[in-house]
Amino acid sequence: MIDRLQFLWPEIILFITTCVVMVIGLSKTYLRRKATALIAGAGIALATVWAATRSPDAESVTAAAGQLLLPHMVAYAKTLIGIVGLMLLLLMAGTVDREEEAQIAAGRRSFDPLRSNRAEFYAFYLFSLTGLMLCADADDLIWLFLALELTSLPTYIMVAISTAQTRGREAGVKYFFLGALGAATFLYGFALIYGATGSTNLNTIASHFRTDGISPLAMAGLLLSLLGVSFKIAAVPMHFYTPDVYEGAAPQVSAFLAFVPKTAGFISILLLCAVAGWAYLPAGQAGSLTTVKAAPGGTQLPELMRLMLWVMAALTMTVGNVLAVLQTSVKRLLAYSSVAHSGYMLVGVVAGPGGPADQGFTSNGVSAVLFYLLCYGVMNVGCFAVLAALERSPGRDGNFRETETLADLRGLCTTHPALGWSMVICSLSLLGMPPLLGFFGKLPLFTAGIRAGELPLVVILGLNSAIAAYYYLRMAFAPFLETPDASAEPVIASPFRVRQLAAVVSAGGVVLLAILGNSLMEECRKAGEVRAGIPFVTGGKAEHASAAAD
C-alpha cells in the first residue's frame, strides 16, 4: 500500500496548500488574507510540476501494489487538472467579497474578519481540485466515491457564495439537492457491484468479471453507477441542473463547473468501463486475443453498457445542441454546449481503446476522451473568462452587474480587442474549426468511432457539430462582425485584469496547442492505454483467488 503513496504527492501538496490557505485566511489583516490566492496558485503549480515530472513510472508499479487500470492516465490527468486549474484560478480573482472590499476601499466600512469568505472560497477550490486528482488514482470503489464527493461538495458552496445575488444561492441549493440525488444513484450502483462481486477493489472486481462473467446484479450496479456519475458530466438524463446552475453562478465558477466535475465524471466513467469491458491487452500481445474473446467484453464494452452509453451519447449531444440554439444568454448557451460536449466525449467512451492493433492516437477512444478534456478545458475557460472579464456599468445600487446576453458581446473586437478576439477564437475552437484546437480534439473522436464501427453514432456526432455551428458562429460573429447597440448601456472591462489574462492565455493555448499538439497527442495516446488490472492468465479461478487475497 505504501507504493500507492508515491502517486499521491500532488494531492498531498494540494492538501497542505489548502490547510495553509485556511489558516492564513483566518488572519486578522486584510493584506495577509489577500495572499491566499497567491499561495493557492503556488501550491497548484508545484503539484502540477510534480505530477508532470515526478510521477512514478506506471510500469514499475506491480499488480500487488495496486496497479491501476489506466496506469499512464494518472500523470497525464493530474498535469491537465493542474494546468486548467491554474487558468481557472486566474479567473477566480475578485469572485467573493467584492462588494465588501469595495466598501472597505471606499472607506465606508472597516475590515471585518468574520464576514470575509475569501479564504474559504480558495480552500474549497483547492479541495475540489484535490478530489479531482484523487479520482485519477482511484483503485477502489470507496476511494472513487470519496474522491467524487470531495470534488463535488465544495462546488455546491462555491456556487452559492460566488455572487451576492439570490439566484446564486438558488443555484447552489438546486445543485446540492440534485447532486445528492446523483450521488445516491451511483452509490447504490457501487453497493450493487460490491454485493455481486464481494469486493470494492477495482482490480479484483475486474478479474472477477473476467473469470466469472458479469452477473445481472453486477450489471445493474454498473449501469446505475454510470448513470449516477453522468450527473457530474451533465449527460442526459442528469443534465437538467446545468443551465440553471451555470446561469446562477458567477461566470468564473461556471467555467470551473464545466471543467472540474466533468473531468471527475469522465475519469470515473473510464475507470468503470475499464473494470467491466475493453480488451486488457498491453500493446503487442496479439497472441492472447483469442483468450480475451472468451471473456466478457472483448475489445468492446459489455453490450448493455455499450447500448446505454450509446443512447446517452446520442441524446446528450442532441438535447444539448438543440436547446443551445434557442438561447440568448451566453451563460445558458455555454451550459447547453457543455452538455453537448459531454455527449461528444461519450462517443470516445463507446468506441473504447480498441484492440492491440489500434494503439494509435487516432484509433483509441480513451485517448480521444482524455485529449478532448484538455481541449474542452482550455477553450471553455476562454469563453467564460471573456464573460467574467466584462461587466456592465454599475446600476443605481452601486453593485456590479454581469454581462450575460449575446448582445453584450457585440463589437467586442473593436471595443476590447483582446477579449473580443479571444471570444472569436475560443468559440470557433468549440465549434471545431480546422486549424484550431477544437478540431484536433474532435477529430480522434470521429476516427475512433469509425474504427470501432459505431458509424450511426459518428453520423449523429457530425450532425450535431453542424447544429452547434449555428450558435457558436453567433458567438463568434457578435464580437467580430456586429456593432454595439447605440442605445444599450456600454459594457466595460472588469477591474480584475487577471481575468483578461486568463482569456488571452486560453485563446493563445487554443492556437498554440493546435500547432504544438504532436507530443501532447503522444502523451494522450499513452495515457489512453487500458491494461489488465491483474496480470492476465487464462487460468481463471486461481488467479481470481490470488487477486482476492491481495
Binding site: F240, G360, Y470
Partner: protein, 738 residues
C-alpha cells in the same frame, strides 16, 4: 577571344564526337540512391526567403516609404543563392541526400504499407534540385535588383507589397523544388500560384490586370486539380507520397518498361503520370491550358521575367523531370507530353509572329519554348529539356527585362509599330546589346549561343527517337518561326531609324516618376531630349524617355554576360550538354532504357541537327532582316505588310490568337454561365428551402424540449429519476436475449 575559341573548339570537336554514346549510356543502371543525412543548412534557402517576406511585411506594417524592402529582398535572396551554391557543393561531393527539418504531417494508423501518411518538411537534395535552386535564387536576386529601380515609381505600400510577394514566391518555389514529398511540392505549387496571382494583379486598379490575375488563377486551378488527383492516386497505389518510397515502388515496374511489357504494369500506376501531366500543363502553360500566360503580362515586367518566363512556368517541367520514373512506366504518357509540347510550341510561335505588343510576343515565345522543353522530356531527352530550362531562364529573363526597360522608359509603350531604333539612342546601348544577345539565344544562332545548344539537344533527341520523327519536324519548323518573330522584334524596335511615341502611362505616372526621370538619369534624359528634338514624329511635346539607371543596366549586363557564360558548363565539361547533363544524369530525371538510334536521312541525328537547325535559324533571321529591317524608313510600316494579303485570313486569325480565347469562352465559359444561373435558381428555391427546413428542425426540437427546463427543483429531480428509469428500461428491453 581565347575563351570563344575554346568554346568553339570544344563545341566542334569534343562534344560532337560524344553525342549519342553518352545520351543513353546510363540505361539500365541501378536506381538513384539517396542518403538521409543532407546538410542542415539547406533549410536556410527557404528560411532566407521567408525572412525577406516577413521583413517586407513588417515594412508594410510600418508603412516604410523607401527602397528598404528592395534591399532586404536582394540581400536575403543573395544569401539564399549562396546557400544554394554551398548545398550544390555538398551534393556534388557527397551525392544526393534528404535533409529532414521537422515533422509536418505524420499520421500513422497501422504498420502496413499505405497505413501511414507521412509528409515531412524535408528536402530532397539531388543535382536536379540544385540545378533548379541555383538558377531560381540567382535570377531572383538579379531580378529583385532590377525591380528595385523598375518599381521605384511605386515606393511606399505598393513597393512593400511587391517585394513581400516576390520573396514569398521564392519561398514557395524553394518548397516546390526542394520538397521530398508530393505534399510539400503541392504547398509550393499552390504558393507560387498564389504569388503569381498577387503579382499579376499588382496594378489592381486596372481592370485588365485583375481579369488577367483571375484568369491565371482559375486556369491554374484546373491543372492543380489534376495534380492533386495525381498525388492522391499515387498515395492510393504506392501507399506513400514521399519521393524516395514512390521511386522505390516504381523501381519494380522499370524492368517491365525496359522490356516494353507495359501490360504488366498496373493501369492505376500508369494513370498517375497522366494526372500529374495535367498539373504540369496548367502551370507551364501548355495546350490546352496555355491561355493564361500571355495575359499574365499585365503584371510588372520583373514579375513576367522571373515568374512567367524563368522559374514558375518551368515548375511543370520540373515536376515531370522529378517524377520521370513515373512517366517512364506509363505507356503513352511521354508520347502525350511530347505531342502536347510540340503542338504548343508551333501554335504559340504562329501567334507570336502576328502580335505587335513586344511583351506579348515574348510571352508567346515563352509558351513556345516551354513546349520545346516538354517535347524534350517527351522524346526522352530529359537532359536537353533541363538544359533548355536552364539557358532559357537566362536569356528569356534578359529579353523580358530589356522589354521592361523599354516599357519603363517609354511610358508603357510596347507596340513595335510605335518604337524604332531604341538601341541606338544614347543611354540605351546596354539594353540594345542585351536584347540582341537574348534574341540571338532565342533564335538559336549557331555555335556561340547557349540557346542553340540546348534547343539543338532537343531537336537532335527528337530526330534520334524513332517514334518522334514528326515531332522533330514540327519543332524544326517552330525553330524557323521562332528565329523570325524574335528578330522581327529586334529589327523593328532596336535598330533602324529612331522614332518613338510614348505610351498611355504618360499621365498615369505621378510627378515623382517624372522628376525621377529628370533628376536621376541626366545622361539619359539629355540623350532622349536630343533625339526628341531631331525626331519630329514624337507625339508628345513634353515627353522625355528616361534611359535605365545603374540597377537595370547592371542586371542586364550581368545577364548578357551570363547568357554566354552558361555555354561553358554546357560545352566545356564532357558528356552530352556537359554540366547540366551530369546534373540530370545524377538525378531522378535520368532517362533509362535502351532505344535504337534513328538516323536523319542517313546521318546521325544529333550531328545532322547541328547543321540543319543552324540553317533554319539563320534563315529565319534572314527573313526577318529582309522583311523588317532592310529599307525600312518608318516605325509603323515594313515590307512585311505587303506580304500580308498573300496569307489571306490566316494572318488575321493568328493576330487574334486563332480565336482560342473566344473558343474557350463559347465552349466552356458560356455553358458554365448558363448552368450557373440554372443552379442559382435551384439553389435559391430548392436547396435554400431544404436548408431552411433543416435549420428549423433543431429549433423546433429545442422548443419541444424547452418546457423540461422549468427551473423547478422537483421537476428536475423527477426528470432525473424518470430518465434513469427510462434508460434502464430501454437497455433491458433492447437486449432481452442477454
Amino acid at each position: 577571344m581565347t575563351t570563344l575559341t575554346n568554346i568553339l573548339h570544344a563545341a566542334l570537336t569534343g562534344s560532337i564526337g560524344q553525342h549519342g554514346e553518352v545520351a543513353h549510356a546510363a540505361a539500365g543502371a541501378a536506381p538513384v540512391q539517396i542518403a538521409a543525412n543532407g546538410p542542415w543548412y539547406a533549410v536556410l534557402i527557404p528560411v532566407f526567403a521567408i525572412a525577406a517576406f516577413l521583413l517586407c511585411a513588417l515594412c508594410a506594417a510600418f508603412k516604410v516609404k523607401s527602397k528598404l524592402p528592395a534591399w532586404i529582398t536582394v540581400a536575403c535572396l543573395a544569401a539564399s543563392c549562396g546557400v544554394s551554391a554551398s548545398v550544390y557543393a555538398w551534393v556534388s561531393s557527397h551525392g544526393p541526400a534528404i535533409t529532414y527539418v521537422f515533422d509536418w504531417i505524420h499520421v500513422v494508423w497501422g504498420k502496413d504499407k499505405g497505413q501511414s501518411f507521412v509528409a515531412n518538411f524535408a528536402f530532397y537534395l539531388d543535382t536536379l534540385t540544385c540545378l533548379w535552386m541555383l538558377f531560381v535564387t540567382g535570377l531572383a536576386t538579379l531580378i529583385a535588383l532590377y525591380a528595385s529601380e523598375y518599381m521605384s515609381h511605386d515606393v511606399g505600400q505598393g513597393y512593400n507589397r511587391f517585394f513581400a510577394a516576390f520573396s514569398l514566391f521564392v519561398f514557395s518555389m524553394a518548397c516546390l523544388v526542394m520538397a521530398d514529398n508530393f505534399i510539400l511540392l503541392y504547398l509550393g505549387w499552390e504558393g507560387v500560384g498564389l504569388c503569381s496571382y498577387l503579382l499579376i494583379g499588382y496594378f489592381y486598379k486596372k481592370p485588365s490586370a485583375v481579369a488577367a490575375a483571375k484568369k491565371a488563377f482559375i486556369v491554374n486551378r484546373i491543372g492543380d486539380l489534376f495534380l492533386a488527383l495525381g498525388i492522391m492516386l499515387c498515395f492510393v497505389h504506392f501507399g506513400t507520397v514521399e519521393y524516395k518510397a514512390v521511386f522505390a515502388g516504381v523501381e519494380e515496374y522499370i524492368k517491365h518498361f525496359e522490356a516494353g511489357e507495359f501490360n504488366k504494369i498496373p493501369p492505376v500506376a500508369q494513370w498517375i503520370a497522366y494526372l500529374l501531366m495535367g498539373g504540369a500543363f496548367g502551370k507551364s502553360a501548355q495546350l490546352p491550358l496555355y491561355v493564361w500566360l500571355p495575359d499574365a503580362m499585365e503584371g510588372p515586367t520583373p514579375v513576367s521575367a522571373l515568374i512567367h518566363a524563368a522559374t514558375m512556368v518551368t515548375a511543370g517541367v520540373f515536376l515531370i523531370a522529378r517524377t520521370y520514373p513515373i512517366f517512364m512506366i506509363s505507356q503513352y504518357a511521354l508520347h502525350s507530353v511530347a505531342w502536347v509540347g510540340a503542338l504548343t510550341a508551333l501554335l504559340a510561335a504562329t501567334i507570336g509572329m502576328a502580335q505587335f505588343d513586344i511583351k506579348r510576343i515574348m510571352a508567346y515565345s515563352t509558351v513556345s519554348q516551354l513546349g520545346y522543353m516538354f517535347a524534350g522530356l517527351g522524346v526522352m531527352t530529359s537532359v536537353g529539356a533541363a538544359a533548355h530550362v536552364f539557358t532559357h531562364a537566362f536569356f528569356k529573363a534578359m529579353l523580358f527585362l530589356s522589354c521592361g526597360a523599354v516599357m519603363h522608359g517609354f511610358a508603357g509603350q510596347l507596340d513595335l509599330r510605335k518604337l524604332s531604333g531604341v538601341g541606338s539612342m544614347p543611354g540605351w546601348r546596354i539594353v540594345g546589346i542585351a536584347m540582341l544577345v537574348g534574341c540571338l539565344n532565342l533564335a538559336g544562332f549557331p555555335i556561340i549561343t547557349a540557346g542553340f545548344w540546348s534547343k539543338d539537344a532537343i531537336l537532335g533527341g527528337a530526330f534520334a527517337n524513332p517514334h518522334a520523327q514528326s515531332i522533330g519536324w514540327i519543332l524544326l519548323l517552330t525553330a524557323g518561326l521562332t528565329a523570325y518573330y524574335t528578330f522581327r522584334v529586334y529589327f523593328r524596335v532596336f535598330v533602324g531609324p529612331q522614332h518613338f511615341e510614348p505610351g498611355d502611362e504618360l499621365h498615369a505616372h505621378d510627378d515623382h516618376g517624372h522628376d525621377h526621370a529628370h533628376a536621376g538619369h541626366d545622361h539619359g534624359h539629355d540623350g532622349g531630349h536630343q533625339s526628341h528634338s531631331h525626331d519630329k514624329a514624337a507625339a508628345s511635346h513634353d515627353f522625355h524617355p528616361h534611359a535605365p539607371g545603374w540597377a537595370i543596366n547592371t542586371v542586364l549586363a550581368i545577364l548578357a554576360i551570363s547568357a554566354f557564360v552558361v555555354i561553358l558548363p554546357l560545352k566545356l565539361i564532357p558528356g552530352e550538354l556537359g554540366w547540366v547533363g551530369q546534373m540530370v544524369e545524377g538525378s531522378t530525371a535520368r532517362a533509362v532504357g535502351h532505344m535504337e538510334h534513328a538516323k536523319f536521312f542517313g546521318f546521325d541525328a544529333h550531328q545532322a541537327m547541328m547543321v540543319v537547325s543552324s540553317v533554319v535559324g539563320l534563315a529565319g533571321i534572314a527573313v526577318a532582316f529582309v522583311l523588317h529591317y532592310a529599307g525600312r524608313t518608318s516605325a509603323a510600316t515594313s515590307r512585311a505588310d505587303a506580304l500580308l494579303p498573300a496569307f489571306g485570313p490566316l494572318a488575321n486569325w493568328a493576330q487574334h490568337k486563332w480565336y482560342v480565347d473566344e473558343f474557350y469562352d463559347f465552349l466552356i465559359r458560356k455553358p458554365l454561365l448558363v448552368l450557373a444561373h440554372l443552379f442559382h435558381i435551384i439553389d435559391q428555391y430548392l436547396v435554400d428551402g431544404l436548408v431552411d427546413a433543416a435549420g428549423y428542425l433543431p429549433r423546433a426540437i429545442g422548443r419541444l424540449l424547452r418546457p423540461s427546463q422549468s427551473g423547478e427543483l422537483h421537476g428536475y429531480a423527477l426528470g432525473m429519476a424518470g430518465g434513469v428509469a427510462a434508460l434502464l428500461l430501454i437497455v433491458f428491453l433492447a437486449t432481452t436475449s442477454w
